[in-house]
């Protein structure tokens, strides 16, 4: 009896299997790499119980971050304001605005407003706000330009490697302390002459002349100068953040 199948078909099942295996893996890897975000929380924008607009308060009205987040300079947490803080103004301004109903309700009943938590580090990571803002890291480095957000969203990944990027190169984030809460600050805003007079010249640029008005500093130059002047050495070991 003649062979039904030619000889080359002997290896066919194996070849099919190998090709399927390679293709399958390529699809999985491809989807994994190209279709999933680096960090799933970025862009998270929950609806809050009170439609509070940072854009109006911090942007248009120019309120300082610390009016509401009052303990950011002393504590681990940058606290969410309590109802009393809202009512400081809103007992007089926009008294009947329906958007503020939840706040007035809270003030009347003593039951707190339950805000939805947006930014979150894992329980085993002990992030401290006070040490960052006091050493020249602005809110904007982690939270983005909140003063332009009508509804706040998660701007940066807040992942461990993202933290470490900055801890290894703090010069990319450091700025003069007085501009920490100025979310629109740009390195070019800095008056080079005054800056150099206060903090010294950027390392490696001792010979450069900063006395002219048109000299602009880069973030790198500002950061390195401050890092040097303040002896900024963020921890890169486990115990710095995990206990």
């Amino acid at each position: 009896m003649a062979n039904f199948f030619p000889r080359w078909t002997n290896w066919l099942p194996l070849k099919v299997l190998v090709i399927l295996f390679v293709l399958g893996n390529a699809v999985v890897a491809g989807v994994w790499y190209y279709f999933t975000p680096k960090y799933t929380r970025v862009g998270y924008q929950p609806v809050q119980p009170v439609p509070f607009s940072h854009e109006i308060h911090a942007g248009q009205l120019g309120m300082d971050c610390r009016y509401c987040h009052s303990f950011v300079e002393v504590s681990y947490h940058s606290n969410v304001p309590n109802t009393q803080v809202c009512m400081n103004c809103h007992s007089q301004i926009q008294k009947d605005n329906p958007k503020l109903e939840a706040v007035r309700e809270s003030w009347k009943t003593g039951q707190p407003v339950t805000w939805i938590q947006l930014h979150k580090t894992p329980d085993y990571a002990y992030y401290n706000h006070s040490v960052h803002v006091n050493r020249g890291v602005s809110c904007v480095s982690c939270h983005g330009q909140v003063n332009h957000m009508a509804v706040v969203y998660h701007d940066q990944p807040l992942s461990m490697s993202w933290c470490l990027d900055c801890h290894r190169h703090p010069e990319n984030a450091l700025r003069p302390r007085e501009d920490v809460y100025n979310l629109d600050w740009k390195p070019s805003d800095v008056n080079a002459k005054a800056f150099v007079a206060k903090y010294g010249k950027p390392p490696g640029e001792e010979d450069r002349d900063f006395s002219k008005d048109d000299v602009k500093l880069t973030q790198q130059e500002i950061g390195l100068t401050l890092k040097h002047a303040w002896y900024v050495n963020p921890p890169e070991n486990c115990a710095g953040c995990h206990r």
């Binding site: 799933t40 929380r41 998270y44 929950p46 303990f71 300079e73 002393v74 504590s75 681990y76 947490h77 606290n79 969410v80 304001p81 309590n82 109802t83 009393q84 803080v85 809270s106 003030w107 003593g110 039951q111 707190p112 407003v113 339950t114 805000w115 939805i116 938590q117 979150k120 894992p122 329980d123 085993y124 002990y126 401290n128 006070s130 040490v131 006091n134 050493r135 020249g136 003069p176 302390r177 002047a229 303040w230 002896y231 050495n233 921890p235 070991n237 486990c238 115990a239 710095g240 995990h242 206990r243």
Partner: protein, 1083 residues
């Protein structure tokens, strides 16, 4: 093949240090235990009564039926919930500290309490209080008291005759009561209270008495020294209490007085160790003589110790009194001796002991003191006072303070009144007499005969069962109060939180009885403060705020003038009547009732931290046992086994109890010590089923010791969870000691013990590369073995600070306890040749925690870099990286790493029943893992330190040098530095938890690169040595060798802390000396 490192054998000098009798006898079981990383069974699944297969079968079915949901895949929505109104001082994320104090029967302990977002989380001593002089020490009970507050089994409801009622109904009932008794002037009303030095409580009591003058008052404490108070009443008259000033004493004799443990207070402990601090060779140190029946931690500190049955301490005191009377010519003392002289001679004590002791005491006249234990009868106390008077102790080493409480009747008197139907309403504030009253009173029946019993209690316990009203009691962290500390200083009690279950304090009840309103704030205490502060409080608000801020009122210590000893005729006859001078007959056994290390008198029975902290001497957890000497064990034909002991039955009159024995080296023969406070039949989830109740043997006439009618082995065995073998390190000269003379002659004696002399002078190189130690601060610790008393406060403090879970008795038996710190207890013998046991060994303690090795063996074996070195010299542990291989624990020569074999923090350690339909399993909740409910009660979570990760199953953990406190200090420094470069943490600006808790300042922690830091100064001591130096681990912890101060004329003085270098004896160097295989190095 696994290479087994054979440690070179320990050079056998004059002395052998051992931890258990098995080790001393080198039993095969002990040798096998040494080889293991964890005790046998620690790493295996032991389902107890459930087999693995059975378990899998039922639980598999259960999971299949329950179905598998994918609800876990959604991101949980978390909330931020701010206050509506700002709370004063409160900053989310920051600790807030308040001063307060803890009531104890021996005075108030001044404290600083950390609160976090309104919850108290940790308790420390108040360093500003006069008795603390800059370092606030605490004890284990104080450290663990925060857990008492969060006890999930606390009484939660007002109950009338068992059914739930409410506060307003109770208040009405109380008002009705006051109206009803107004007519009889309070006759028929009785109030039973605990011993408590609170001026406000006393003031309210006076107010109640003014209204209801015929009300009966009873102050009842099962253990806190009725005889001490009675003797002080005879000796000093009304209103004065003795206050030993041990910081002025060069020679201290304790007659059965465990003043470093249950019989003392922080002031005595600190005073004693202050005189024991020796920095440079040639300095002086105090000398402690101890006479006791069982090893206590005081006995362990003693330079000379005499073990005699507790009933013969009086006879010894009399013998000593005669010697002292002769030497000093003190008329009062010799008078006492003459009336009792004839009885002497029936008891024999070691020749020369009393004679030499008397000489030493007399030679130090005015600088010596005799302390008598609260277990001893009034007569011995009076004799002790007479001796103290003859030694000129009064006014120098022994002063007095005013007592706070007015006299009250005893529980015996109250029982008589009840039995005479004279009491119709009984209010019990806290005490638990149904459980712990002397058995001859038959309190149970008596209380049942009182028509109306109102019980205010922390728990619904034995007494609550027989009461008509049960009222939840406020914990001391929940109410406003005040008190007197050990030196009589007026201290504040501040509430840290509102009463969790609406509890009432004693003051609340008494205020109502006095016709006042139940206070809502500090108003009652403020009234007392006004009286006490007097003219100083012209600006009341400022004075009051300063009082709360400091925690005490400056200069308020009560007068110490009335210290004269009146040797009245009554005192003389009391001595004569009560003195027991007969020796124990052969074959008869004395039973000694002792306070329990874990539960005290039973009140801390439901506190898991206290249940699990090993007894310093026996290393027993979760149980009580009958402690007997090796010779007595032989005579009774009983022995100990791995985690078990033969059970004996003790019969006294009609009562009998049986409990397992525990052979305790250094125990007096013919004496059996049993601790009270176990075998509670109505308690919470932790205390249920633990231990045996010993109170049925205890009577009013013999409250502390008696001769048993019969002691017989029952043939059964009882399990005992003992930790003494756990994490053993093969006796390699870990604990080093010498005498004061050795130190003077050869200051660096500790550096040449063990193998330390053989180390290369240039230092060993490491075969691995290590990260550079570049940080500005380098952390290190020094532990002075000379001032460590072994009290275990550090262990409990560490547990409280670092969120260590308790694991339960079964898990402790398997060697899975989670304490990061342990106190190794060593016995030391010079002569063990005869029968492998030494009746009179010395006892030493050594706290052991992660040594933070610079060349850490654990780091090199971790496959996932979960344990790595930081630039400031910490061996850090990243829990979320750990995959649980346990290689690190295996490679740790100090055995300080602990593994979470189960989810101790989230799963119940108590038995749980799970299953479907008829298929049910009952086993420890730990074994069910995720198949049972998460059961950590919310209140327990509230205690946790928010800055320390709560570890889960499968994760290794160990001491971190309190890295959260280091980082907190570093952050605070950087925040303060702001736009400047001043980022070096100020010297000694913070403490580790163990250091802060230690009342003796035996632990110093800090920056070793800073010459001015405490730790650097201590490290420089010539007594310093490091553990297992020859392994080249380069530990960051330095131990300072212990010193003894023996009296060379005392019998047995030459054996004490005998130090002799091997090479001085003419032998070869220890490296080459030894039997065959001890050539050293890996094989």
């Amino acid at each position: 093949m696994k290479r087994i490192f054979q440690h070179p054998s320990e050079p056998q000098g004059g002395k052998k240090y051992w931890r258990s009798l098995e080790e001393l006898a080198s039993t095969p079981g002990f040798a096998a235990a040494l080889e293991r990383e964890f005790p046998q069974g620690a790493a295996e699944f032991n389902g107890g009564e459930v087999s693995r297969r059975h378990f899998m079968k039922i639980m598999g079915a259960s999971t299949a039926l329950a179905g598998i949901g994918l609800t876990g895949c959604r991101r949980p929505e978390m909330h931020l919930v701010p206050f509506t109104h700002s709370a004063e001082w409160s900053i989310p994320g920051k600790f807030l500290f308040y001063t307060s104090s803890r009531p104890t029967p021996r005075g108030y302990v001044p404290l600083i309490v950390s609160t976090y977002e309104g919850r108290p989380t940790k308790i420390e001593g108040n360093p500003y209080h006069p008795i603390n002089e800059g370092h606030g020490g605490t004890d284990i009970y104080t450290q663990a008291s925060v857990l008492n507050m969060y006890d999930p089994d606390r009484a939660r409801a007002f109950r009338q005759k068992g059914s739930i009622s409410d506060e307003s109904t109770f208040e009405k009932a109380l008002d009705g009561l006051i109206a009803a008794y107004a007519g009889t002037q309070g006759d028929g009303l009785a109030i039973m209270m605990e011993e408590n030095a609170s001026p406000t409580r006393e003031r309210l009591r006076a107010a109640v008495t003014a209204k209801l003058p015929k009300a009966r008052w009873c102050i009842y404490e099962p253990l806190a020294g009725g005889s001490t108070g009675a003797a002080e009443f005879i000796g000093f008259g009304q209103g004065v209490k003795a206050r030993p000033q041990l910081d002025k004493a060069d020679v201290v004799l304790t007659l059965d007085c465990d003043f470093l443990g249950s019989d003392g207070n922080i002031e005595m402990i600190r005073g004693f160790t202050k005189k024991r601090r020796v920095d440079a060779p040639g300095e002086k140190m105090n000398r402690l003589y101890s006479v006791e029946n069982r090893y206590t931690i005081t006995g362990g500190m003693a330079d000379h110790r005499l073990r005699i049955p507790a009933s013969q301490v009086g006879a010894f005191a009399l013998q000593l009194a005669e010697q002292i009377a002769t030497a000093t010519g003190d008329a009062t003392l010799s008078g006492v001796g003459q009336t009792l002289g004839k009885a002497n001679g029936t008891v024999n004590f070691p020749a020369g002991w009393a004679e030499e002791l008397a000489k030493d005491l007399v030679a130090n006249k005015g600088r010596a003191v005799v302390l008598v234990g609260s277990q001893q009868p009034v007569a011995v106390h009076l004799l002790g006072m007479a001796i103290n008077a003859a030694l000129g102790a009064f006014g120098t080493t022994l002063t007095g303070i005013a007592t706070v409480s007015a006299p009250a009747s005893s529980i015996g008197d109250l029982t008589k009144d009840i039995n005479n139907k004279a009491v119709t309403t009984l209010i019990i504030l806290g005490c638990n007499p149904v459980y712990d009253a002397p058995v001859d009173l038959d309190w149970r029946t008596a209380q049942s005969n009182v028509p109306n019993v109102i019980r205010v209690g922390l728990h619904e316990d034995e007494t609550a069962e027989l009461s008509s009203w049960n009222v939840p009691r406020a914990h001391y962290l929940e109410y406003w109060g005040d008190g007197r500390s050990a030196d009589g200083t007026y201290v504040a009690v501040q509430p840290m939180i509102l009463p969790l279950y609406g509890g009432w304090s004693d003051n609340d009840i008494l205020a109502k009885l006095a016709g006042l309103q139940k206070p809502v704030g500090p108003e009652l205490v403020q009234d007392t403060f006004r009286q006490i502060a007097g003219g100083a409080a012209t600006d009341f608000d400022a004075a009051w705020n300063k009082f709360l801020h400091d925690g005490y009122l400056d200069g308020s210590a009560t007068a110490t003038e009335r210290t004269l000893f009146f040797m009245s005729a009554a005192a003389g006859s009391a001595i004569g009547e009560q003195m027991n001078l007969t020796a124990l007959k052969e074959g008869s056994y004395e039973i000694v009732f002792t306070p329990d290390f874990h539960t005290y008198d039973g009140r801390y029975n439901n506190n898991g931290w206290l249940q699990e902290v090993p007894d310093p001497v026996t290393k027993l957890t979760w149980d009580n046992a009958a402690l007997i000497s090796p010779a007595t064990a032989k005579a009774l034909g009983v022995q100990n086994y791995e985690a078990a002991g033969d059970t004996i039955e003790i019969t006294v009159g009609k009562s009998g109890i049986s409990l397992p024995i525990l052979i305790a080296p250094g125990h007096a023969d013919h004496s059996i010590s049993v601790s009270l406070g176990y075998g509670r039949w109505k308690t919470g989830r932790v205390g249920t089923g633990a231990g045996e109740n010993v109170y049925p043997l205890r009577t009013t006439t013999a409250p502390y010791f008696l001769v048993a009618d019969k002691v017989t082995p029952t043939g059964d065995r009882g399990t005992l969870a003992i930790t003494q073998h756990h994490f053993s390190m093969e006796g390699r000269a870990f604990v080093r000691e010498g005498t004061l003379d050795t130190f003077a002659e050869n200051p660096s004696f500790a550096k040449v013990m063990g193998l330390d002399e053989e180390l290369p002078k240039a230092g060993n190189p490491s075969l691995y590369t290590h990260p550079p130690l570049t940080a500005l601060e380098q952390w290190g610790m020094t532990i002075d073995l000379n001032t460590c008393t072994g009290c275990n406060a550090c262990v409990v403090a560490c547990q409280a600070e670092n969120n260590s879970p308790i694991v339960g008795k079964e898990q402790v038996i398997n060697g899975r306890e989670m304490h990061w710190m342990r106190l190794d207890r060593y016995f030391a013998s010079t002569d063990v040749s005869t029968d492998d046991s030494d009746p009179d060994p010395e006892m030493l303690f050594e706290p052991l925690l992660c040594q933070q090795c610079e060349f850490a063996p654990c780091e090199t074996v971790c496959p996932v870099n979960a344990t790595v070195h930081t630039p400031d010299g910490l061996n850090s542990m990243a829990y979320n990286r750990c995959i649980g291989t346990r290689y690190c624990a295996n490679n740790c020569p100090y055995k300080v790493r602990r593994f979470n074999f189960f989810d101790y923090n989230q799963r119940p350690i108590t038995p749980v029943t799970e299953g479907i339909g008829p298929l049910k399993i009952t086993a420890s909740g730990l074994h069910f893992g995720p198949l049972t409910e998460k059961s950590s009660p919310d209140t327990i979570k509230m205690q946790k330190n928010p800055n320390v990760t709560v570890r889960m199953r499968g994760v290794m953990e160990k001491c971190t040098f309190c890295v959260q406190r280091i980082e907190e200090a570093r952050i605070a420094t950087k925040v303060k530095a702001g736009a400047s470069d001043k980022i070096k943490i100020p010297v000694d600006s913070f403490q580790s938890a163990c250091q802060q808790a230690c009342p003796n300042e035996a632990i110093a922690f800090g920056d070793i690169t800073e010459p001015e830091s405490k730790v650097s100064k201590m490290r420089g001591s010539p007594r310093g040595y490091r553990l297992l130096e020859y392994l080249n681990t380069s530990p960051r912890v330095v131990y300072l060798a212990k010193l003894r101060n023996p009296n060379p004329k005392m019998p047995g003085a030459e054996k004490l802390a005998a130090f002799e270098r091997e090479d001085k004896k003419g032998g070869a160097s220890p490296m080459t000396n030894g039997e065959g295989d001890a050539s050293g190095g890996p094989k």
